[in-house]
């Protein structure tokens, strides 16, 4: 229904505008209905302006900036309609340490509302796990589970 979409859209938009500023330490972003007259059919545009930079097309953003913007939007949609369970497979791949930290903090804010499964190679991301499993292939081609000590030698 028209109203339900409008309500959800506005909610997601408010979250996104706030979450972007949190993840970027400033700047601004928005999601816009391409045609407000045609709210039931029109597409959705994304605008994003990192702090201190000019507003330009999102295509010109860097790899890490795009990841952070996408994460902000994903988490905004998530907070409006929390799925009990969310999976993120190496979403931190393009992030530098500073951005990885901000990402970690945002995940921890959402932990109360959902369970998260986070796959990562990053030692910074590993630290936010409430539990940590390793997967290895002792026998080639055969996956098994191992427990991982963060302080020990078997952090892969």
């Amino acid at each position: 229904s028209r109203e339900r979409f409008q309500t959800t859209f506005t909610q997601i938009r408010d979250h996104f505008r706030a979450l972007f500023r949190k993840l970027f330490g400033g700047g601004r972003a928005d999601i816009v209905l391409e045609d407000p007259e045609d709210i039931l059919e029109c597409g959705i545009e994304i605008l994003a302006q990192p702090p201190g930079k000019e507003l330009q097309s999102i295509s010109l953003m860097s790899g890490g900036e795009k990841s952070m913007t996408a994460i902000a939007l994903l988490m905004s949609i998530f907070s409006c309609r929390p799925a009990p369970f969310a999976i993120m497979d190496e979403v931190d791949a393009a992030l530098d340490e500073a951005n990885n930290d901000r990402f970690n903090r945002i995940v921890q804010e959402f932990v109360a509302m959902s369970q998260f499964l986070v796959i990562t190679h990053s030692k910074w991301t590993m630290g936010i796990g409430d539990r940590l499993y390793g997967i290895t292939m002792q026998e080639p081609g055969v996956s098994t589970r191992v427990s991982v000590e963060l302080t020990g030698a078997n952090v892969a």
Binding site: T69, C80, A83, I87, D89, Q115
Partner: protein, 165 residues
């Protein structure tokens, strides 16, 4: 409701039965390249009814069955079980614990189960309707797909918003 564990047997690189217990908060999975982490994500999508082999990085569903290795013969069946705690009855079945199972045989035969009773894909979809559990575009972010929302066309993006609405 919350997710208790996933059990994988014969699916992709898991010829032996392996389970992963989930608790509240964040569960982190680590390991070297090619060890099976993303295969775990595929198992989750698959047991919840993923119909597209391509979306599981395969060409046909048979690709989901363990194909063998240097030291192992291929499996004849792939099975994944997903176990939920349903004490709060947010899933509309009168059980404290609900297990969703999917099996696929080399022959091509496949079946779904809910608490060991044969079920159809439709029953699984109905069970999770409006719970947010599932393989919608925003609760599973596959490897390399994090900026999917930015790369989509405005219309594709809208579909994701509609799902959330």
């Amino acid at each position: 409701m919350f997710l208790k564990r996933i059990t994988i047997c014969g699916f992709k690189s898991f010829p032996d039965k392996v389970d992963f217990e989930f608790g509240p908060g964040v569960t982190c999975i680590v390991g070297p390249n090619g060890c099976g982490k993303s295969n775990l994500v595929d198992a989750f999508k698959w047991v919840l009814g993923e119909q597209s082999a391509r979306s599981l990085r395969g060409h046909q569903m048979g690709d989901m069955i363990f194909a063998g290795s240097a030291t192992r013969r291929a499996s004849s069946v792939a099975q994944v079980d997903l176990v939920f705690d349903n004490a709060d009855r947010s899933l509309s079945l009168d059980f404290d614990e609900i297990t969703v199972t999917r099996k696929l045989y080399r022959s091509g035969e496949s079946e779904y189960q809910i608490n060991q009773d044969v079920a159809r894909l439709r029953d699984i979809k109905e069970l999770f309707m409006d719970t947010g559990v599932g393989i919608d575009a925003y609760s599973v972010v596959e490897q390399g797909r994090v900026d999917g929302l930015l790369q989509s066309s405005p219309t594709e993006r809208r579909l994701i918003f509609e799902e959330a609405a």
